[in-house]
C-alpha cells in the first residue's frame, strides 16, 4: 500500500520534471534526491525477521498498534470486565504451584484463582496452556520507568508528572515488572549516592528522610499508577558514626514515648474519659511512629558486619522494624542478627565494593558470599533482591539492568536458597517490605490484577514475558512490541523443561 503511494509520488515528481520515471531509485539527480535517499528509511537490512528488517512503513504501522492500548482494539463491541488467564502453570507465591489453573480478573482485581475457575461468558481470554503465570514482578528499585527520572519539588506531586507512554516503562513490562519503587534506592546499591559499605559515616546528613514513591507500570494510562506517595524513611546508621547514631536514637526514643502516651490516651478514651487529649506529635516523630506502627518501611544501608551489628542493636533496643539494604557481610553473622526485626534487600550478584571478599588474613569471615541469601533464610529472615541496576535501556550489557531482575533472584538459588524463596524475592517479599502486600505480590483473590505470563520458568535465563497485565489491562504483548518480537524460537520444542516442569 505504502510502496504504491511512494511509487505514485515519485512518478508525479518525475513526470513533472519530464524525466524517465524510475520508481526503483527515484529522481536521480540533484543534491535533494541524494539526501533523501540516504535517509533512515534506506537503512533497513535483512528480510522480515528482525527489528531492522522490515520496511519503515510497515514497521511503523505494526508498532503503532502494539503501542496503543491493546484493550481498546475493538471499540465497537462492549469490552467484558473479565479477563481470564486460562490453563497456565500458576505460581501464586502465597500458596503452592498449580499445574493447570486459571486466574480470573474483573476490572482491576483478581476475583478467582485456581484449578476450578468458571470463566464468565464473553470474558477476554489469554490461553496460557504450558505457560508460566506469576504475579507481576515487584522491583524495590526502578529508575526512570515512570517519567524518565524526576524529583518533585515544592507543591509538585510525583503523580502529576507520570509519562504513561514512557518506553522504559514498556521495557520493564517486557520483563514482567509491574510495580516499582522509584527514588528511595539509587543505582545498584546503597542510597545517598554512595556505596553500601560503612554506610552512614557522613556528617550532616539527615537522620530520617522520606523518599521515593511506589507505582504501577500502567502503560498508556495515568489512572491506577500511584500505589504509595511516599515509599520509605531513609536512615543512615553505622558503627562509626557517633553523631548520627545519637540523633537517630533520640528521634526513635521520642516516637516510642509518643506511642506509650498514645496507648494511654486510647485507654482513657475507652474508659469513658471524654476530655482526654491526644498527645502532640511533631513531623519528624510522626514518621518514626509510622515505622514503629509498621506502616512505613525504614531503610538503612549497611554492608559491613560491624555496621550490621549496630543496626541490629538499634532494632532490638526500640523493637524497631528495619529494612537493611545491601547487607553483604550479613552471612557471616546471620544467627547473631536473628535477635533483631530486620528484613533485607540483597544484591545477590554484586560483589563487595571494597574488594575484600572473604580475605583469609582477616580475623573473621568477611566480604561477599553467594550464600548470603540462603544463610539469612536459615536464620529466619525474609529478604528480597534488587537488580544490578535500576535503570533500563537497550544499550549497555544485556543482563546487567532492571530487565534481568529474575536473574538476580535466580542467583540466590545458586547460593542455596530455594526456588520458592527466589520467586518470592521478586514478588511477595518486596511487596511486604514496601508495605503494599495487600495489593500486589501474589495471585490471591482481592489483590490487583497484575500478572506476568512467561514462556518458561520465571527463574530461567531463557524465559520471556509474553503478556504482562497491570490493573486487569494487557499492557505488554511480546509479539506486538518491538523489543523482543523478533525472537521466534519455538520454545515448547527446542528447549528442555526447567526445574518447575520437572516437578
Amino acid at each position: 500500500m505504502r510502496s504504491v503511494r511512494h511509487l505514485v509520488a515519485l512518478v508525479v515528481a518525475s513526470v513533472a520534471l519530464a524525466q524517465d520515471s524510475r520508481p526503483e531509485s527515484g529522481p536521480d539527480s540533484g543534491p535533494a534526491a541524494s539526501r533523501t535517499e540516504s535517509g533512515p528509511a534506506s537503512r533497513g537490512r535483512g528480510r522480515g525477521r528482525g527489528r531492522f528488517g522490515r520496511g519503515e512503513g510497515a514497521d511503523s504501522r505494526a508498532e503503532t498498534r502494539a503501542d496503543s492500548r491493546p484493550d481498546e482494539g475493538a471499540a465497537s463491541k462492549p469490552v467484558s470486565p473479565f479477563l481470564a488467564i486460562k490453563d497456565g502453570i500458576l505460581y501464586p507465591v502465597s500458596s503452592p504451584v498449580v499445574r493447570r489453573g486459571t486466574v480470573l480478573i474483573k476490572d482491576d482485581k483478581i476475583v478467582d484463582v485456581g484449578r476450578d475457575v468458571t470463566i464468565p461468558e464473553g470474558a477476554r481470554v489469554i490461553d496460557a496452556r504450558g505457560k508460566h503465570v506469576t504475579p507481576g514482578l515487584v522491583s524495590v528499585t526502578v529508575f526512570g520507568t515512570f517519567a524518565g527520572g524526576f524529583t518533585p519539588r515544592g507543591e509538585e506531586k510525583t503523580a502529576d508528572q507520570f509519562d504513561p507512554y514512557n518506553q522504559r516503562m514498556l521495557m520493564a513490562l517486557s520483563s514482567g515488572i509491574t510495580t516499582g519503587c522509584e527514588g528511595a534506592l539509587q543505582g545498584g546499591g546503597g542510597f545517598f549516592g554512595g556505596g553500601g559499605r560503612g554506610g552512614g559515616r557522613g556528617l550532616g546528613t539527615p537522620i530520617g528522610q522520606l523518599a521515593g514513591f511506589v507505582g504501577k507500570h500502567a502503560y498508556g494510562s495515568i489512572e491506577g499508577v500511584t500505589v504509595r506517595d511516599t515509599a520509605a524513611l531513609l536512615v543512615q546508621y553505622g558503627a562509626g558514626d557517633l553523631l548520627n547514631r545519637g540523633q537517630t536514637r533520640d528521634a526513635v526514643r521520642k516516637a516510642v514515648e509518643y506511642r506509650k502516651k498514645r496507648s494511654d490516651w486510647i485507654a482513657e478514651l475507652a474508659a469513658g474519659k471524654k476530655d482526654a487529649k491526644q498527645p502532640p506529635l511533631d513531623d519528624p516523630t510522626k514518621n518514626w511512629v509510622r515505622v514503629l506502627d509498621g506502616e512505613l518501611p525504614c531503610l538503612v544501608s549497611s554492608d559491613d558486619r560491624n555496621d550490621l551489628e549496630a543496626v541490629a542493636d538499634l532494632s532490638v533496643e526500640f523493637e524497631l522494624p528495619l529494612v537493611v539494604l545491601g547487607a553483604n557481610e550479613a552471612w557471616t553473622i546471620a544467627p547473631r542478627l536473628a535477635r533483631a526485626k530486620l528484613s533485607f534487600i540483597l544484591n545477590p550478584r554484586q560483589r563487595d565494593s571494597a574488594g575484600a571478599w572473604n580475605n583469609p588474613a582477616a580475623p573473621h569471615e568477611n566480604g561477599w558470599s553467594v550464600e548470603n541469601a540462603a544463610r539469612l533464610s536459615a536464620a529466619g529472615f525474609r529478604w528480597c533482591v534488587q537488580p544490578l541496576s535500576a535503570s533500563v535501556g537497550t544499550g549497555g550489557l544485556m543482563g546487567r539492568d532492571l530487565l534481568q531482575l529474575n536473574m538476580d533472584a535466580a542467583f540466590t538459588v545458586r547460593g542455596g536458597a530455594t526456588e520458592e524463596e527466589a520467586l518470592a524475592a521478586v514478588t511477595l517479599r518486596p511487596a511486604e517490605i514496601l508495605k503494599i502486600a495487600d495489593r500486589v505480590g501474589s495471585l490471591e483473590v482481592g489483590k490487583d490484577g497484575d500478572v506476568a505470563i512467561m514462556d518458561l520458568d520465571p527463574l530461567d535465563y531463557r524465559s520471556f514475558a509474553e503478556f504482562t497485565v497491570v490493573n486487569g489491562r494487557v499492557v505488554y504483548e511480546k509479539d506486538k512490541t518491538s523489543f523482543f518480537n523478533h525472537v521466534q524460537t519455538d520454545r515448547s520444542k527446542g528447549l528442555k523443561g526447567s526445574w518447575a516442569n520437572e516437578r
Binding site: R5, A13, T64, Q161, S482
Partner: protein, 429 residues
C-alpha cells in the same frame, strides 16, 4: 506602495486618473493610483488544492484577489489586464504557518506556565524586520499565525502576511491582517498547571455550573461596559457570564466556538494528563499542537476528533533506532493535520518545502501534504473562505514553482501575497 504609484504615472490612463484626483489631497491620490491593475498569470499548471489541478491555467488577479481561475481556453482575459506569461511554471496556494513564533524572541513553545493572558495580544509584541519578512516569503509563506508561546491562557494570536520590501522602516502593523486570529493555550503535566486548568474550567464551563445549580448571589453591579458584544447571546444568569472578564473572555468565546483555539501539549504524557479535562469538558476541543513523539497517542487523538498541528520532524523511538513521523501517521489515520516547519525561527523555514517532499517520499499523499500546509491551516484558523486554495474570490496568495509544488527538485521562483510580489527569484541579490 510608493514605487508602484510612481510606475503608474508613466501610463497614459493612470496619468489621466491622477490628473483628475490631483486637485484632491495628495494622500487620496496616492491611494487611488496604487490600486493595481488586473494581472493575468498564464501558467503551465495550477494546483488548486480545493479541486483538481488545472493544466494550461490562467489566474486573473485584481485588487489583491483571484478574480477568475480556469483553463486558458475558458477564461476571458480583459483587455485592461496585464498578461504575465509563465509557461514553464506551476502555481499553488501559498503556505500558511498555523502556529509560528517568527518575530518573537522566545525560541520554543512552553506549556509550563500558568499565565492568564486573555488580555494579551501577540500583535503588540512582534518585532519583525525586513530581512525576516524576506525569508518567510522566500520559503513560500504567504500567511502566518503568530502565537504567544506560553502555558495556561497564553493570549491572542495574530495573522500576518509578508509585504513587498520598501525603503522605509518596517512597522509590525503593516503585516498584521488580524489581531485576534485565535487563542493560544498550553499545558504541561505539572501539579500547578493542573490547578490552573481546573480552576479555569470551574470558572468558565457553564455545563458544570448548571449541574451544580447556581447558588451564589449574582453581582448586579457589574458595569455593562465590561462585557464584550460577543457575550450578548450568553445567558446572563449563568455563573460563566459572571466569570467573563478581560482574561476569561477569549476562553468563553472558545467554548462557544467563536474563536479558534490552539493547545500546545509538550509531549504525549501531557496529552494523557489533559485527557481527563477533555472527558469532562466536551465543549473544549482545541486544535492540538503536538510534538513529534505524538505518534504514540494518535489513536486517542483520532477518537477525540480534534485536528492537530505537527512539524515535519521524525522522532526516534526512545532506546531504538526506529524513526516515526507523527505528521505522516496522523494524515494516514485521517486526522485533520496541519504541518509546520521543524524550527520556530524564520531563518529555519527555508527548507520547509523540501521537508514536505521528504514526507511524501516516506509515503504521504502529495495532495494531502500540500493541503496540510495550505487549506487545512486556513480551515483551522477559520479563514478558509479567504485563503488556502486557488479559487475565485480568495486572496491572491500564490506560489510559482518550476515543477510540481512539493517535488524535491522543484524550486520556488515567485510568491504573491494578496496579489503583491513578495518574492521574485530574478530580483534577489
Amino acid at each position: 506602495m510608493t514605487r508602484r504609484a510612481t510606475a503608474f504615472v508613466s501610463r497614459p490612463r493612470a496619468a489621466l486618473v491622477l490628473a483628475i484626483v490631483a486637485s484632491l489631497a495628495a494622500d487620496a491620490a496616492a491611494q487611488d493610483a496604487s490600486k493595481p491593475r488586473a494581472i493575468a498569470y498564464k501558467v503551465k499548471r495550477a494546483v488548486t488544492v480545493s479541486g483538481a489541478a488545472i493544466d494550461d491555467a490562467v489566474l486573473l488577479v485584481e485588487g489583491g484577489k483571484i478574480v477568475k481561475i480556469g483553463k486558458a481556453s475558458e477564461v476571458e482575459i480583459p483587455d485592461a489586464a496585464d498578461v504575465t506569461d509563465l509557461p514553464e511554471l506551476t502555481a499553488s496556494p501559498g503556505f500558511i504557518h498555523v502556529a509560528s513564533l517568527a518575530f518573537l524572541p522566545q525560541p520554543d513553545f512552553d506549556g509550563q506556565g500558568r499565565r492568564e493572558g486573555g488580555d494579551r495580544r501577540i500583535a503588540d509584541e512582534i518585532n519583525p524586520t525586513w530581512e525576516q519578512v524576506g525569508k518567510l516569503a522566500r520559503a513560500g509563506f504567504t500567511r502566518l499565525n503568530i502565537v504567544p508561546p506560553d502555558g495556561g491562557i497564553a493570549g491572542y494570536g495574530c495573522l500576518v502576511r509578508p509585504i513587498p520590501r520598501t525603503e522605509r522602516p518596517l512597522r509590525a502593523e503593516q503585516l498584521v491582517s488580524s489581531r485576534e486570529s485565535c487563542l493560544m493555550t498550553g499545558f504541561a503535566p505539572r501539579t500547578t498547571n493542573k490547578a490552573f486548568w481546573k480552576e479555569l474550567f470551574q470558572k468558565t464551563d457553564p455545563k458544570k455550573d448548571e449541574a451544580k445549580g447556581d447558588e451564589s448571589p449574582r453581582s448586579g453591579s457589574r458595569p455593562s461596559g465590561e462585557s464584550r458584544p460577543t457575550s450578548a447571546s450568553r445567558p446572563t444568569d449563568s455563573k460563566a457570564a459572571d466569570a467573563r472578564d478581560a482574561k476569561t473572555a477569549p476562553f468563553l468565546d472558545v467554548l462557544d466556538r467563536k474563536l479558534p483555539c490552539f493547545l500546545f501539549l509538550g509531549n504525549s504524557a501531557a496529552f494523557a494528563h489533559f485527557e481527563v479535562y477533555f472527558k469532562d469538558h466536551p465543549k473544549f476541543r482545541p486544535v492540538l499542537i503536538l510534538r513529534p513523539d505524538a505518534w504514540v497517542i494518535l489513536d486517542q487523538v483520532k477518537k477525540l476528533g480534534v485536528p492537530v498541528v505537527l512539524s515535519t520532524s521524525a522522532s526516534q523511538r526512545p532506546d531504538t533506532n526506529i524513526l516515526r513521523q507523527a505528521a505522516l501517521e496522523a494524515m494516514d489515520r485521517g486526522i485533520a493535520t496541519a504541518v509546520i516547519p521543524e524550527t520556530n525561527f524564520a531563518s529555519g523555514y527555508a527548507d520547509f518545502a523540501f521537508h514536505l517532499a521528504e514526507l511524501i517520499r516516506r509515503g504521504a499523499d502529495p495532495a494531502q501534504a500540500l493541503r496540510a500546509a495550505t487549506l487545512t491551516p486556513a480551515e483551522m484558523l477559520g479563514v478558509a473562505d479567504e485563503t488556502g486554495s486557488l479559487d475565485a474570490g480568495k486572496t491572491a496568495d500564490v506560489l510559482f514553482w518550476t515543477g510540481e509544488p512539493l517535488a524535491p527538485t522543484s524550486r520556488l521562483v515567485r510568491a504573491l501575497a494578496a496579489g503583491a510580489v513578495v518574492y521574485d527569484e530574478t530580483k534577489e541579490p
